[in-house]
Amino acid sequence: MAYPPAAHSPTTRQPSVKVILTSADVQRVVDRIAHQILEKTQGARQTVLLGIPTRGVPLARRLAARISAFEGVDVPVGVLDITLYRDDLRQHGTRAVGPTDVPAGGIDGRRVVLVDDVLFSGRTVRAALDALNDVGRPASVQLAVLVDRGHRELPIRADYVGKNIPTALAESVRVTLAEPDGVDEVRLYGGDR
């Protein structure tokens, strides 16, 4: 799960920090995923990118921009807020609901690529699939993530993965992106690496 501010595991020692992807790495990875989407979707035909807030949204926009730059195809981009579909609503105080913005053409009969920053338990993606179900009926759904850190709690996998990072549960992965945070970076907190 990737929600700001990412909680660090509480230790008395100075937590170790390791940069997994630098700014240049993030750009290369986004370029690669854009190519892979083009390849797997016959040139992004009938495809819609939906970003999951918060950091899935700028990632989806970047993927669309790269796809447009590589092949001149304009892929519709939208936002899918999953707050009201989460399975842990009752374990926290009330969460603020964000905007959902489905592109004008809708998603019926299209191929939807969900975009998120970190794939962890898979619960966010499950919520997104439920939300999608109420918005329309896509022909198929794929998943693109910048980082897969493992520890799935549900039978969910990604179609496009920027980087697989083997992690311990006690560690936390934090993705920052230029649009909301000022810098592109993926960091791993905690652990003794």
């Binding site: 807020d81 707050t83 009201l84 579909y85 609503l89 009752r90 374990q91 926290h92 105080g93 009330t94 969460r95 603020a96 609901v97 964000g98 905007p99 959902t100 439920d130 179900n133 109420d134 918005v135 329309g136």
Partner: protein, 308 residues
């Protein structure tokens, strides 16, 4: 977020805007094919109505159902209240049934406060006596913001039976919190002398509707509550309509962008003419639609998390 919604006086600007912003997201659901969200699955909302009300009860019911809550409608007619059960015993019954929220309308001002002491769930005031009706004020503010783009700095005239109007009280409190300037207009017997000062420092009182109209961005007409009019507060309905009714010629004195609101149900020909009620300036039908979105937002914010 607050635990109960009893009065607009309990809402600071941040909380009120959070409700309006959440309502804006809830409104997008109404445009979808599947008008349902799973956020309140397994929660129970009881509508406890001691007074007749169609639109408010239906609006709360629709809001709770769109959020997948279970709804129990409890109206006094045909219930054990008709057999003399007290509010407290009814509250304890609801408590035992595990109500997560009680939406209450009661003829006695303050009844929801009593109820909030007796039940563990959240209490939403859906109108108590002549005291308050907070969700109506929230949906009115939502409607103003969506039509005019802002609330801060708006001039709002609230016209009519302010004395008996819980809608007026809630609106003065909420709109002042959100930076609008409210003027209460009506015949002197229906406007308590110190009400403006008591409710909000910025609110004003004026007894002449025609002088207020040209400076108003919003005119909110209140229903003349015939059922509360045992004493004669004004000489006749015709005289009231002539001095304080909004007709076509008065409407044309409003600024170009101004809107006309009414909480419903209307007495056509009394406080508002059909020409005005059915004009493009009138937001009366929008207010009903917005009511569902705003009540969804309130129920979600009260019940969506573990705010116990």
């Amino acid at each position: 977020m607050i635990r109960h919604l009893l009065s607009c006086a309990d809402l600071d600007a941040g909380t009120a805007l959070e409700i309006l912003d959440t309502a804006a997201e809830m409104a997008t659901v109404a445009g979808r094919e599947v008008k349902k969200l799973p956020a309140l699955r397994g929660r129970t909302v009881v509508n406890l109505f001691y007074e007749d009300s169609t639109r408010t009860r239906i609006s709360f019911e629709a809001a709770a159902k769109r959020l997948s809550a279970d709804v129990i409608n409890f109206s006094v007619k045909g219930s054990s209240v008709a057999k003399g059960e007290s509010l407290k015993d009814t509250a304890l019954t609801l408590q035992a049934m595990g109500a997560d929220a009680v939406v209450v309308r009661h003829p006695a001002s303050g009844a929801p406060y009593q109820l909030a002491d007796w039940v563990d769930g959240s209490v939403v005031n859906a109108g108590d006596g002549t005291h308050e009706h907070p969700t109506q004020a929230l949906l009115d503010a939502y409607t103003m913001r969506s039509r005019l783009g802002r609330l801060a700095g708006l001039s709002v005239a609230v016209v009519g039976d302010v004395l008996h109007s819980r809608v007026a009280r809630s609106n003065v409190l909420l709109l002042s919190t959100l930076g609008a300037k409210v003027t209460l207009v009506g015949p002197p017997p229906l406007i308590p002398v110190d009400i403006a000062a008591a409710l909000a420092p910025g609110a004003a009182v004026c007894y002449d509707l025609d002088s207020v109209l040209p400076q108003s961005d919003v005119v909110m007409m209140l229903r003349v509550q015939r059922e509360r009019m045992n004493d004669s507060y004004f000489p006749s309905a015709r005289e009231y309509a002539r001095r304080y009714g909004l007709d076509g010629s008065r409407m044309r004195r409003l600024p170009e962008h101004a809107i006309v609101m009414h909480p419903g149900p209307m007495n056509r020909g009394m406080e508002i003419t059909s020409e005005v009620a059915d004009s493009p300036r009138s937001t009366i039908v929008e207010q009903v639609a917005n009511g569902v979105s705003v009540r969804m937002a309130v129920l979600y914010l009260l019940l969506g998390g573990n705010n116990r």
